[in-house]
Amino acid sequence: MSKGKQIAISFVSGLIFAIGLVLGGMTQPSKVVGFLDFFGGAWDPSLAFVMGGAILFHAPAYFLFVRRHPNPGRFSLPTKSEITLPLVGGSVLFGIGWGLGGFCPGPGLASIPTFGVEALTFVGSMSAGMLLHHVLTRKPAAESQPAKPSPSGAHPTPAD
């Protein structure tokens, strides 16, 4: 595939992704907090439908098309399957931040056009956090790169 086509597909995918996030309710941090508030007596389960809907579409596409593709080397899928401390510890930190601010990365970026204080503050400090991780992990081989291109012909590990 040409580079231009790859860039065009990425843009369109990002565009559709953002429309989905907005329609789904993910760009309302108070709704995210309402979803995560399981025990507050006013639980709003809507956002489970966002993840459910996305999996409902994506899982069949993966299992019926990508997994059966004659040339699996064209898909860069994570091959790791071990449960590691960075995976769990990082997810704990992410979860705390998600509950504290009500934003995760996608909705934060899609909310930039609002120029709201919260969205801009969130994206700014999230970027700083990513740079901090980059600096902290620069010397040893990068531990946290989910989508390294797998060598052509290598079959992705089914578990991850």
């Binding site: 559709i16 309302q28 399981f38 409902l56 990082g90 990513m130």
Partner: protein, 143 residues
């Protein structure tokens, strides 16, 4: 349960669109639509390939397209102070990079592949998020 705030159909429709977007990325570009990974690798310069910036540009353009159509879907309306949001962003940035993904990469893409790591990560960040929200509510939030 809060039935007034419950939006199962629009949330399901939004989710299906997200699934479509992730499928386009995987089928045509061979890439996982993990937003923290795509954005993080782009801004830190560890892998600033143009397709990453195009995806981020698409996300922002999608927000800009929707904002005038459904401004109410961008309502912030909560009791978090800017300082709490700043700390939240920092934790999300560091955490998603150490944890190799966020709600999109683990919660949607990895869960769809039944990845063991993504299932563990998703359960972990939802539990940590729920614990945090509960704690902030008990402590009275910022108000």
């Amino acid at each position: 349960m809060n039935l007034e705030a419950f939006t199962p159909w629009s949330s399901l429709a939004g989710g299906l669109l997200i699934g479509l977007a992730a499928t386009l990325m995987l089928v045509f570009n061979g890439r996982v639509a993990g937003i923290s990974g795509i954005y993080g690798s782009a801004i830190t310069g560890s892998d600033p390939a143009p397709w990453r910036w195009a995806f981020v540009g698409g996300l922002i353009a999608g927000g800009a397209l929707m904002l005038p159509l459904v401004p109410e879907l961008f309502t912030v309306a909560y009791d978090r102070t800017p300082w709490m949001v700043a700390v939240a962003g920092l934790l999300v940035g560091v955490g998603t990079r150490y944890g190799s993904g966020c709600t999109s990469g683990h919660g949607v893409c990895g869960m769809s592949r039944l990845s063991r790591r993504s299932i563990v990560a998703t359960l972990t960040f939802v539990a940590a998020g729920a614990a945090t929200v509960t704690l902030v509510r008990i402590l009275g939030g910022a108000s």
